[in-house]
Structure formats: C-alpha cells, structure tokens
C-alpha cells in the first residue's frame, strides 16, 4: 500500500451530519420567541447561559488543567458591573455587558499573577478565596445595596427594548448568542496553534515544555479569556434576573458546583461533554426540582458515581464505543477509496 492511497482529513461524516443538525437546531432556537411560551423561553435562555459557563470551565479545567472552584468570582463581577455601569455610567445594558467582559479580563490579570503560585488542588481553593474577596468587597459598596443587594431600575430595563415580550426575546437572543459564541470560540481556539499547545499541555506538561511551549503563558491566556467571557455571561445572567445581591452573585453552588457537575457528567475535556451535561442537568432539574434538597443530594451523588465509575462522562462512554467526534479537533488518516465509496 502506497502513501498516496491515504489522505489526512479533519472532518468525518458524523461531524458533517452533526454540523447540519446543529445548524437546523440553531435556526429553530433562534425562532423560539415565536413558538415558545414565556416560561419555556426563560428556561432555554438559562440553559444557554449554563452551557456557556460549562464550556468555559471545561476549557480551563479539561484542557488547561486549571481546576477552579472560584468562577463565581467572575459571574458575580460581571453581574455587578452590569448594574454599576448602567446605573452610574449611564450605559445601555448591552454596552455594559461588553465592557464587563473587558473589565473581567483586566481584573483577572493580577488575580492570576497571585493564585498561579498555588499548585493543583490548592489553586482550586485559592480561586475560592478570591471569589470570597470579591463577594465581601461588593458587599461593602453601599451604592449597590451593600449586603442586601439592589434591583435594576425600571428605566434601564425599559431602555433595552419596547414592551415586555420584546425585552424577553432580546434577553433570550443575547443568551443564545453568548452560548454559540462561547462554544464556537472554544472550538476555534482548540483547532488553532495555541489550542494544539494547550492539548499538548493537557496530555503531558513535561513533554509540552520540552517542545518549547510556554506553559505559564498559555494557561494565563486561557484564564484571562475565560474570565472575560465568564464575566459577560454573569452580566447576562443578572440581566435576566434583574436583581443582584452578593450572596446570589457569588454563590459557589449555583455558579461553580453545578457547572462542575455538568461538565463531569457530560464528559470533561471534550466540547460535546458540556452540551450533553447541560441537557442532562436541566432534564434532572425539571423532573426532580419538586424534591428540593433531595434533588441536590441526588445531583451530588450522580456526579460522584460518574466520577468514580465513568470518569470521562457520558460523552466519553459514547465516544469510546462509536469513535465519534462531532466537533472535529484531531486529524484522521483514511483510505482514498473509502472517501469515494
């Protein structure tokens, strides 16, 4: 068999089919304000924002090895920036959310410089301490309601769009757009040269370093970009809620524990994992939420069992069985004939 009998390809038939189905699903989701009820629209919007958070956490923990349990720092920061910039800065909410992203990146630089000194699990708790510092600091700002929080003034809410349903549709589209932006950004990033470096670091840090990859800089870049996007997601979350308080904005359970459970249940270190995990999480929540605290115990238990019995998550199980990759990142060698057949 000669070399010319083979060719190298990135895509596969499954990936092409997934791309077509994804595009159809996206069109249907864009049209949701016309076919979904108010409550459903809110739910899908929330799902989109959780998907964005999960994809970002997955990029950090699954690829860059930065296991953070303090992402609520940036969710809350973004939320508070939305409130501060619209109330005191007179910006409209969409501008405020974009600037919240820029400020999130700016604030993450000194934070990273400090907590990157901690290794492994201690890095994780260090990020939590940072989130506590953020929470306590914002609780000191009496102009934003101090410890009890504040609501978004109606004038600002009205400036978003005319009429309640138009506003809700806009908030939904922003959430959907954010989810698509994050998943696409993660996908394109991982396919780029920097993404290759990141994957190399994930697989073997020592070997990656010996190939000339600057590990610190690559992780730093991932941390800053993730923080910026997480802050923007935070802004959108509180644009939906219209009310913010330190305890809600910097909740470790809501913005980190659930996000980690989503990623692990879906499959860490894959782009598909967070998508599946988000769907599973919301399916569980919608069916079991009446159980209250028992539901959260079940969720914790499911996460533990998945971690112990199937550490690559649901997508890991599917992939090892069917050799599927819906977001093609790797290269495959194939027979030329196979392509024609």
């Amino acid at each position: 068999m000669s070399v010319s009998g083979y060719h190298v390809t990135r895509t596969s038939r499954a990936a092409q089919a997934a791309a077509v189905l994804g595009a159809i699903a996206l069109v249907i989701l864009i049209a949701a304000p016309w076919w979904a009820g108010r409550a459903d629209l809110r739910l899908i919007g929330e799902l989109c924002l959780y998907l964005a958070l999960a994809s970002l956490w997955n990029l950090m923990a699954g690829y860059a090895g930065l296991v953070s349990v303090g992402q609520q720092a940036y969710v809350g920061f973004g939320g508070y920036m939305l409130f501060a910039l619209t109330i005191f800065g007179g910006l409209n909410p969409i501008q405020a959310i974009v600037i919240a992203g820029v400020l999130g990146a700016a604030v993450s630089v000194p934070v990273a410089a400090l907590i990157f000194r901690l290794r492994g699990a201690y890095f994780a708790i260090g990020t939590w301490v940072m989130a506590e510092v953020f929470r306590l600091s914002f609780a000191q700002v009496s102009a934003l309601g101090g410890g009890s929080g504040t609501s978004l003034p109606t004038g600002i809410v009205r400036s978003l769009a005319d009429g309640r349903s138009a506003r809700e549709a806009l908030a939904y589209w922003l959430a959907l757009g954010m989810a698509v932006l994050v998943v696409a950004a993660v996908y394109l990033f991982l396919r780029s040269r920097k993404g290759l470096a990141l994957t190399a670091i994930r697989d073997n840090e020592l070997a990656a370093a010996s190939l000339g990859i600057d590990i610190w800089k690559t992780k730093f870049l991932v941390y800053v970009v993730t923080s910026a996007l997480t802050a923007m997601v935070g802004g959108l979350i509180f644009l939906q809620k219209l009310r913010i308080s330190p305890d809600a904005a910097f909740s470790v359970n809501d913005w980190t524990a659930f996000v980690i459970f989503i990623v692990v249940i879906g499959g860490i270190g894959t782009i598909e994992g967070p998508i599946i995990g988000t769907l599973v999480f919301f399916a569980l929540r919608e069916t079991l939420a009446d159980l209250g605290t028992i539901y959260l115990m079940i969720l914790g238990l499911v996460a533990i069992v998945v971690m112990l019995k199937a550490p690559r998550g649901i997508w890991g199980l599917i992939r090892s069985r069917f050799d599927l990759e819906l977001f093609p990142l790797g290269y495959r060698v194939r027979h030329k004939q196979q392509k024609g057949a």
Binding site: V67, L299, M307
Partner: protein, 287 residues
C-alpha cells in the same frame, strides 16, 4: 489597650482556626488530598454534638466522647469506601468527589435540621471570663486555644513518635515502597482520615459552643482552615497554628477598624502573604 485586646482576642480566635486547619493539613500531608467537604464535616460534627447534648442531656464537652469516635468512624469508612478510589496523579477526582460530598452533607443537614441557626448550650462556660493584666479573657476562647495547642502537639507526637506516624510518613514519602514494606496504604489512609475527622469533631464542638451555626457555613470554615494552612506553610503543623493565629489577629484587627472589614482583612492578609511568601511563612524543609 483596645488594640492589645484585639490582638489577644484574635490570637485566641486563631486557636479555633488552627483546629479547622489541622485536619486539612494532616490529610494533605499524608495523601495529598484536599478535602472540599472539610468545612461541611465540621458543621456535621457540630450538629452531631447538638443532637447528642439534646438527646442525652449532657454538656457539649462531654459530648466529645461520643462525637470524636463517631466522626473518626465516618472518616475511616469514607476513606476506604469512596476517597481511596479517587487518589492518583489527577487532582480532579478527589476534588470533584469531595465537592459532591459537600453538596450532599449540606443538603442532608438542611433536610434534617432546617436552615435555622442552632447553637449548643454550654451553660456558664459560654460567658465565664477572668481578668488578666487589665484585659478580660473569656474562659471558652482560652480553653479553645489550649485545646488547639494540645491537638497540634498530639498530632506532632503521633507523627514523629509512634508506629502509626511512621506509617503516615512512609506512605507520604513513597506509597509504592511503603506498600512493599508491608504497609496497607488503603488502611493507612483510612486511619489518617479517621484522625483528621477526630480533629474535625473537636473543631465542630468548639465552633458550635462559640457561635451559632447553620448548614450553609461549611464553605467559609474550609476557606479559613485552608488559609491557615497556606499562611503557616504546607506540611508544618506548628506553622498551621501560627497561620491560624495570624488569620485570627488579622480578622479582629480588621473588625476593630471597621466591622464590615473583619473577614475581608483576613483574606487580604492571606493574599499578601501569598504574594510575598508563596510557600507560607514556615515551610517544611524537604530533603
């Protein structure tokens, strides 16, 4: 005098933080495990203490006789049944599994005891105080600090003067060789976690006598313990006590400046020390 008072009270508060931290430091030293559920286990111990005092009508300090063995037992079973499976090069499994445990414990306590703050009744001990050189010291804080010193000294003694401590140090240095020398590392790790949760039991009881508690406060206690460990330097038990004292003093002095600054001041001192001495003030010298 107010400032001296703040520093002395902060030092005594540091004893409680050292109790939070000692168990965390111990299991990290032996098996490199960071237990996210540590704070929730402290709260669990407080609730166990509450249940015991109410059910048997005994003083909280007497309840230690029940709570310490109970928590140690929970620790051993937890380690053997669950946590041992998570240990390895990857830090994610232990982190995630203990995170899951944290959520489970929190919500189980919420289910069983509701979100209302609870407190243990220790009678006269809660308010007893004595004067010392113009300062008024509470008997309970002084007792807590003394117990913290005894616990640290006890752990130090176990580590360096007993067969169990030798087993801990051996598995910490090299798990495989320790195994070859006839140590069962699954059992050794189980004992380490049992010892860690025995200390957690003491921490939980003193927490529950000192302040009111509810199921949601575990995360905060974990963060204090963690800060004390890092300030003092990883793997140094006396350093952990010093770390707890520094954190406690930072908090009381911060509260003296502005009551809203109590917790923030503690965190800021932690970050400052992290910036200038990333290995903590008294790191253990490896070699």
């Amino acid at each position: 005098m107010d400032w001296v008072n703040a520093i002395v009270q902060g030092t005594l508060l540091g004893g409680l933080y050292a109790l939070f931290a000692a168990g965390l430091s111990l299991i990290f030293g032996v098996m490199r495990l960071v237990n996210i559920a540590h704070g929730d286990l402290i709260v669990l111990a407080a609730y166990l203490g509450l249940t015991t005092t109410v059910a048997l009508g005994i003083h909280p300090l007497v309840a230690l006789l029940v709570v310490i063995p109970a928590m140690a037992g929970i620790g051993y079973v937890l380690q053997r049944a669950v946590l041992n499976q998570t240990l390895g090069d990857d830090i994610l499994p232990p982190l995630l599994v203990t995170f899951g445990l944290s959520v489970i414990i929190q919500n189980a306590l919420l289910e069983g005891f509701s979100a209302d703050p609870q407190k243990m009744d220790a009678g006269a001990l809660e308010t007893a105080s004595f004067g010392l050189g113009g300062l008024s010291l509470g008997v309970l804080p002084v007792l807590t600090f003394a117990v913290a010193v005894m616990v640290i000294a006890g752990l130090q003694w176990v580590f360096y003067h007993t067969a169990l401590g030798r087993a801990f140090r051996a598995t910490s240095d090299n798990q495989d060789i320790a195994q070859l020398m006839g140590l069962n590392k699954a059992h050794v790790f189980g004992l380490a976690m049992a010892l860690s949760l025995a200390v957690v039991a003491i921490a939980g009881i003193f927490l529950g006598i000192r302040t009111s508690f509810d199921p949601s406060i575990g995360g905060g206690r974990l963060v204090f313990g963690f800060e004390a460990v890092i300030i003092g330097g990883l793997g140094n038990l006396w350093g952990t006590l010093a770390g707890g004292v520094i954190l406690g003093v930072a908090q009381t002095v911060g509260a003296k400046i502005d009551p809203g600054w109590q917790l923030l001041a503690g965190h800021l001192v932690f970050l400052l020390i992290l910036a200038v001495r990333p290995n903590g003030l008294f790191p253990r010298v490896d070699g």
